[in-house]
């Protein structure tokens, strides 16, 4: 396995936070999210580097990573679109929005556009049920979606 050098900012981020916890491994889940800001997705070599930092095995890191939906196990596009497909959004027409996004991007749910700009995934409740349909583009929440609102949101991300 190729040895991966952890981003120094990430290492600093981890070391600053370790004193807040009784064990190093406690910081694993937040570290996975932070790590993908720099390294994209959690690859086996990244898992090895994170494991070394938090006193656990690469296997443990990958196992934990595989449990959480926000942790990318494979390469994703520059912007990840997470559209809620749960009950309140369903009642307010998220199926049409999903179909619209698929058509607009030319990819099915789960896919990444050829230019690598967008990955479109469907997710469970985003706790914004009063303003469904909703989606996250990156870290930004978009509510009361219509095709026009989707157009605007994706243009913003460009």
């Amino acid at each position: 396995m190729d040895e991966l050098r952890l981003n120094q900012e990430l290492e600093k981020w981890v070391k600053e936070r370790l004193p807040r916890y009784p064990t190093k491994r406690s910081l694993l889940v937040p570290t996975l999210l932070e790590a993908q800001k720099y390294h994209g997705h959690i690859s086996p070599s990244l898992a090895e580097a994170i494991g070394a930092l938090l006193d656990t095995t690469p296997r443990d890191v990958l196992s934990v990573a595989s449990f959480y939906t926000l942790v990318h196990k494979h390469p994703v596009g520059k912007h990840v679109i997470q559209l809620c497909h749960n009950v309140s959004c369903f009642l307010n027409g998220c199926d049409d929005i999903a179909a619209y996004i698929e058509e607009k991007l030319g990819v099915k749910a789960g896919g990444t556009t050829e230019d690598g700009k967008f990955t479109f995934i469907t997710v469970e409740c985003l706790a914004a049920c009063g303003s469904g349909p909703v989606m996250l583009v990156g870290e930004k929440l978009y509510e009361n979606l219509t095709p026009e609102a989707v157009d605007r949101a994706l243009a913003e991300a460009n």
Binding site: P30, Q82, N86, V123, C129, G130, E139, L141
Partner: protein, 430 residues
Amino acid sequence: MLEQTKVVMRLDGVPDHHRLDVYEANGGYAALRKAVKEMKPAEVIDEVKASGLLGKGGAGFPAGLKWSFVPKDHPGPKYLACNADEGEPGTFKDRWILEHNPHQMIEGCIIAAYAVGISHIYVYCRGEFYQGKEMIRRAAEEAYAKGYLGQNILGSGFSTELTVHTGAGSYECGEETALLTSLEGGRGHPKMKPPFPASEGAWRKPTVINNVETLATVPEIINRGAAWHAGLGTEKSKGIKMVCISGHVEKPGNYEVELGVPTLAIINDLAGGMKGGRALKGFFPGGSSTPVLPAAKADVGYDYESVAAAGSMLGSGALIVFDDKTDVVRMAEVITRFYTWESCGKCTPCREGTRWMLQIYERILKGGGRLEDVDLLLSICDHLEFKSFCPFGDAAVGVVRSTINLYRDEYEDYIRNHKVYKRKFMPVKH
């Protein structure tokens, strides 16, 4: 006309009340001052016990009682986990508190920590709440700078720390013991109880786990007294509740009401009635985990015992309303897919039972259902409920059984007529 009783949402409409100076100008942190300066920790617990405050994350367990289970003479550290992992479909109240009134929650956390002798508060926040995490971190920084957190709080000699901890996308981590496993760095699997977290929780130390809304109610109980709170609501469900209304209503959103008010009044007076004047078909009283109730039961009192008597649960206070045009079989499939994909996989009944139910729903919607499928679904429900490791399995059953009982003809219509649901897209598990 039903009026709201705003306690956690008392500053709704006050500009910038997420800021410390605005919160303080509106009575913020007076309760903390009162607690640490004028009350002994045991008195704070007694006050919260006497108030009748119930946990608002779903289970409705008395909060003061929970606090009192923590051993007082424990020599090592004790922890508070503030459960901000709001994920129950239909629920969006905690996100509102985190984004709009973070200080009231933090003040409640510190009072709870003082009452129980807790040295570190972890706010376990949903990973998807990017803005919420930011707001709570900023609010915590402000509270540290003002001496409400850290060493020797307000000169009382009491010290406690607060750390915001992010989740990373998992419904199960809202279950209290799974939350602890995740906080310790693991996959979000629940732990066996007993030992209960109050005696052996995070890192095997005594741990209190309270929901965001529960903690955000505490400062007003200290300010106004237990008798004020106990005088609200019903005999068995004291106090108030934030209600998240979504679905087919004119004005979906968060509202706060006295427990026991008629559900129909919440829908009509607060949420503006049914969207487009359509007819109410049914509703989930407390989130996707709670059995559906039909329109005929919409006058049920919105409190724990009345909703239970009507055959459902108050849950997290998420009122999901649907109209007469709703395809309940497809709606049940949407929710069953959620439970299938979010099942943590630790125990077989839940992991396999949910997956099996989803497969049956998929074949019914494809026009390939069998008449015996309806009873097969009910049978799987029986094998899931109370047989799973944690309450997740029970939650997955609610929508399936209740929609079959109420709308069996719609299931049979799909099956007998080989009706096909025209899918507009196929969701994926990431």
